[in-house]
């Protein structure tokens, strides 16, 4: 896989990376209270008595959050622990009303699982590496402090306080920034397929603590640092890049890496120390006496399993094997759940419109989607989510190509017009007279005129300058305003040129 190495003055260094990803669970209410979880509400508008830790308030687990975490565990092939328990992690901070976070240290909900990543964009079946996941546990998020609202005081917003998070802890199995990036993207894709986390790193619903150490290849693990709360894939990769180089510099200048918590500064792309192990909190974890152990029965776990959608790897394999798509195209179409959903909707409509099986139109649909539509959306600065074109409209266009009404190149024009006007493909073709000309008689007449007008070039062609064939095709198409059926034009030109 990755042979990423840092070149130091004393030789090559290998980077060892583990990620702890905090993923906000998609649920209407918080982990232990009925308060809402929507992003962007007015400060302290979504705070229950429990979230504010009023005297005598008690937590009651939200079953939906547990269900989402179990589904996530199943999606990474994790071991589902039918007996787990909540622990209190005790520390004082103004954004932590209870003075403790309810988490799971000793008995997490999900045990050992894994995710397969590939670094080869052209072929996701190649260069596959398995990244171990040690555990997923469920815990409460803290509130938010705002330091810029008052000259001497900080404000506290408890809207996030008590929101359910999954902490997904990887094994230290990654060896390069690229691997870490691939892991994060794959994990995010899986979470979004499952629907247990929206994966929105900008809004903070997914963030990573990045553990980095360096060693000479083959040596024991070095001392690691943990960079907290990094909130984009790019920043995670930058953190690793910077942190690994910093550690190599420290070690090569005779120093020691200090086990500590660090912060990433997106403005400078560097990390800085937040607190060292010596000032680390003693969290005094102990089982939360307000909560009973969490016990799941087989029926619950099986219902979670049955509710899982087809996951990205399985879908990609199916696209390759059943639909005959290339690994590259299948990879592109399955990388994000929205793309796969759009493609499958298009596939269904296209097959129906053309009266064929899905596998018969799959390549056409996949290639058109990944090249034509993606290209057009790119130019418009839009994504599939807010595509002005629906799968049904796209299927109509594909059907016109499929039955020979328009050529592929005319289809490009039609697509532009569809995006411009919002009109249907058929309407545009009729209105603009873009219907393809396949009548041999009509084309023969044009061909004859083109050859007659260019007698000198015909001589050269016949004299062996075969490259001129393209010129004749171009002239013929031009004369027909691009509407000649390219196949028929080719055939008739070949015939006419002998």
């Amino acid at each position: 896989m990755s042979s990423y190495r840092i070149q130091g003055t004393t030789g090559e260094w290998e980077v060892v990376i583990g990620l702890e990803v905090h993923a906000q669970v998609v649920s209407k209410s918080k982990l232990f209270s009925g308060a809402a979880t929507a992003f962007g509400a007015e400060p302290n508008a979504q705070v229950s008595l429990v979230d504010a830790a009023m005297p005598g308030m008690l937590p009651v687990p939200n079953k939906e959050c547990i269900r989402q975490a179990v589904r996530t565990g199943l999606a990474i092939d994790g071991q589902i622990n039918k007996w787990s328990r909540f622990d209190r992690k005790n520390y004082f901070y103004a954004d932590l009303p209870q003075g403790y976070q309810i988490s799971q240290l000793y008995h997490p909900l999900v045990g050992e699982g894994h995710i397969d990543i590939s670094l080869d964009d052209k072929n996701p079946e190649a260069d596959v590496k398995r990244i171990g996941i040690e555990r997923i546990h469920v815990e409460q998020d803290a509130g938010k402090l705002m330091h810029d609202q008052h000259p001497t005081m900080s404000y506290v917003d408890l809207n996030r306080s008590g929101v359910a998070l999954m902490e997904i802890v990887s094994r230290p199995d990654m060896r390069s920034p690229a691997e870490a990036g691939a892991y994060l993207r794959k994990l995010r894709a899986i979470l979004r397929y499952v629907g247990s986390c929206d994966g929105n790193m900008e809004e903070g619903s997914m963030r990573a603590d990045v553990n980095v150490s360096v060693r000479k290849p083959g040596d024991e693990f070095g001392t690691r640092t943990e960079t907290k709360n990094v909130n984009s894939v790019r920043f995670v990769m930058a953190t690793i890049e910077h942190e690994a180089n910093r550690q190599v510099d420290v070690l090569e200048s005779g120093g020691k890496v200090v086990q500590e918590t660090r912060l990433f500064d997106p403005d400078t792309g560097t990390t800085r120390s937040m607190r060292s192990k010596e000032d680390a909190h003693d969290y005094r974890y102990f089982p939360d006496p307000d909560l009973l152990p969490l016990e799941l029965d087989d029926a619950f776990v099986e219902a979670c399993r049955a509710s899982l959608p087809e996951l990205p790897d399985a879908k990609r394999h199916r696209y390759e094997n059943a639909l005959g798509l290339t690994p590259y195209v299948a990879g592109v179409l399955t990388a994000e759940v929205e793309t796969a959903r759009w493609f499958e909707a298009l596939l269904g409509e296209a097959a129906a419109k053309q009266g064929k099986g899905e596998e018969a139109v799959a390549k056409q649909a996949a290639n058109w989607l990944t090249s034509e539509l993606f290209g057009a959306l790119n130019r418009l600065g839009r994504s599939l989510d807010d595509s002005p074109l629906s799968p049904l409209q796209a299927a109509e266009l594909l059907a016109l190509i499929g039955n020979g009404t328009i050529s592929g190149s005319i289809a490009k024009q039609v697509l532009e017009k569809m995006l411009e006007t919002g009109d249907g493909a058929q309407t545009i073709v009729e209105r603009e007279g873009l219907r393809q000309e396949s009548d041999t008689g009509a084309i023969e007449a044009v061909v004859a005129k083109v050859l007659a007008d260019n007698a000198d070039k015909v001589e050269q062609y016949k004299g062996g300058k075969e490259a001129l064939f393209g010129f004749f095709v171009g002239q013929t198409m031009k004369a027909m305003q691009g509407k000649g059926n390219p196949q028929v034009v080719n055939e008739l030109l070949k015939k006419a040129l002998g």
């Binding site: 008595l49 504010a52 830790a53 009023m54 005297p55 005598g56 308030m57 008690l58 937590p59 009651v60 687990p61 209190r88 005790n90 004082f92 901070y93 103004a94 009303p97 209870q98 003075g99 403790y100 900080s154 506290v156 003693d282 005094r284 974890y285 102990f286 006496p289 307000d290 909560l291 009973l292």
Partner: protein, 495 residues
């Protein structure tokens, strides 16, 4: 006309229902006693005479309108100031919560109001329910209405932590009151004041809205002057609450209807480990009386062994402070209650100043102990070990209940002590809990009933410990003692 304040829960409810007197008359009578005693007994932190009258008026109106009356209709009660009461200051007897007025009502108090009870006021207690004498209250200690015979007028402890409750009941300031029991906080004050109180099985009464001390032990229960009154009130307080994850999802039995002092066919266990060397002779004598009374009621007496009893107190004083150290972290000056913000203070300074000023010494002591036993390097030696011993103590009871239906023991090692007597010796104070703590650790129902007076004229209590969910067995054995002990003594009024 009878003195209404001499009546208990059942008598008041029946008198109101029959029209012998009105609920308002009852509330007025108790309101007057509360007001008259406040300067001397200090049983209430806040009196709420208007709340008592308002509830009484509603009961009288309901009766006049022919509506069905609740289990506690017309009965004014005292509410331990550990229960959150909407719109009424709730302090846990601490400075840190002084002035805190909840916008919510605890499940247990709401159930009592729904059953027709009214609130005379918020009762004093040991701060955060930590204490056995009421001396840890920020609002001054409660004084027991009892005094030693023979001219020694030393003010006595009403017990703790529910000492406001016990004193108020004994002094006829209320016919009944709520208590909470973490390691004996209902039973010990009941024993000290000649009153009756039951801690039900852990989970019977919702903890929602009760200021937490030690979550795995805290349990609310009724205190009154008779077993029947406790049964009535417990029925009103108990029941499954989806807002408390540790609440028992079981129907509430009809304990009052099930009362029977006939113990024929029942076996009463006498734990040999509770008969300690140097035991107070009068306490031992009252235990023997209890054995004789239960025999008389038809029970068979059997010796049982609870071998891990001697580890109960140290176990309790690890687990309860551990949980408390975490439960009390929320009192940080950020959102409610006291905030002490010295000039130029940062967040840490504010925490330190607020908590130093807001918590009393005993609370601080337990937070320190709890923090210590949970800290890295000590956790296994203390907390983990204590949890293991707690399991062994529960198993002791399980095994013992293979041989008996209910256990009889003294409630406390001595009668009430004088205020100040133990206050500079925390260990001597903790020893008060020696007989009550094991049942708490095992989550078992346990009650204290008055058994008589000692030679100094002070009440002694007997404790009955039952199987999980068998409050009925405990109440019935309590009733058998009550009906034979003939305890009618009351403190001579001096306040």
């Amino acid at each position: 006309m009878t003195d209404l304040t001499e009546l208990g829960v059942a008598a008041i409810r029946e008198g109101v229902a029959k029209g012998d007197f009105t609920a308002v008359e009852v509330a007025e009578a108790f309101n007057a006693n509360v007001a008259a005693a406040q300067g001397s007994l200090n049983a209430f932190i806040v009196a709420t005479p208007e709340a008592a009258l308002e509830a009484a008026r509603k009961v009288d109106a309901d009766r006049a309108g022919g509506k069905a009356l609740g289990k506690m209709a017309g009965v004014p009660i005292g509410m331990k100031d550990l229960f959150a009461t909407r719109g009424v200051q709730t302090t846990a007897a601490s400075h840190i919560l002084e002035g805190f007025t909840p916008q919510y009502e605890s499940t247990v108090s709401q159930k009592l109001w729904d059953a027709g009870a009214g609130m005379l006021g918020k009762l004093n207690l040991d701060q955060f329910a930590m204490g056995s004498s009421n001396e840890t209250s920020y609002f001054g200690n409660v004084v027991s209405p009892w005094r030693r015979a023979g001219g020694d007028n030393a003010p006595l402890a009403p017990g703790g932590s529910s000492g406001g409750s016990s004193a108020a009941i004994a002094a006829r300031l209320c016919p009944a009151a709520t208590g909470t029991d973490t390691g004996g906080s209902i039973r010990q004050p009941a024993a000290f004041t000649g009153t009756t109180g039951i801690k039900p099985t852990y989970g019977r009464c919702s903890r929602w809205g009760v200021v937490a001390f030690a979550s795995s032990l805290d349990q609310a229960g009724p205190m009154a002057r008779s077993v029947r009154d406790c049964a009535i009130m417990l029925e009103a307080m108990a029941g499954f609450d989806p807002k408390d994850s540790t609440s028992l999802d079981l129907p509430v039995p009809e304990w009052e209807a099930g009362l029977s002092a006939n113990l024929a066919g029942k076996k009463v266990g006498i734990p040999r480990e509770y008969r300690m060397d140097g035991m107070d002779a009068e306490v031992a004598k009252s235990w023997d009386d209890g054995i004789a009374w239960l025999k008389d009621a038809g029970a068979e007496i059997v010796d049982i062994s609870l071998p891990h009893t001697k580890y109960a107190l140290p176990t309790y004083y690890i687990i309860a402070p551990a949980e408390a150290s975490s439960n009390l972290a929320r009192y940080d000056g950020v959102r409610y209650g006291l905030r002490d913000l010295p000039d130029g203070a940062n967040l840490q300074d504010m925490y330190a100043a607020t908590r130093a000023a807001g918590f009393g010494d005993e609370v601080k002591r337990r937070i320190l102990i709890g923090t210590y036993v949970l800290s890295a390097g000590f956790y296994d030696a203390y907390y983990t070990q204590a949890q293991k011993v707690r399991t062994l103590i529960s198993r002791d009871f399980e095994a013992a209940f293979g041989h008996c239906d209910v256990i009889l023991a003294p409630t406390t090692p001595t009668a009430a002590f004088a205020l100040g007597e133990n206050s500079d010796d925390p260990l001597a104070m903790y020893l008060n809990d020696v007989f009550s703590v094991p049942a708490s650790l095992a989550g078992l129902p346990a009650m204290s009933v008055p058994a008589g007076l000692n030679s100094q004229g002070l009440p002694l209590g007997l404790q009955l410990i039952g199987k999980p969910f068998d409050e009925q067995g405990v109440l019935n054995a309590g009733l058998a003692i009550e009906s034979r002990a003939g305890f009618t003594a009351k403190p001579e009024k001096w306040w």
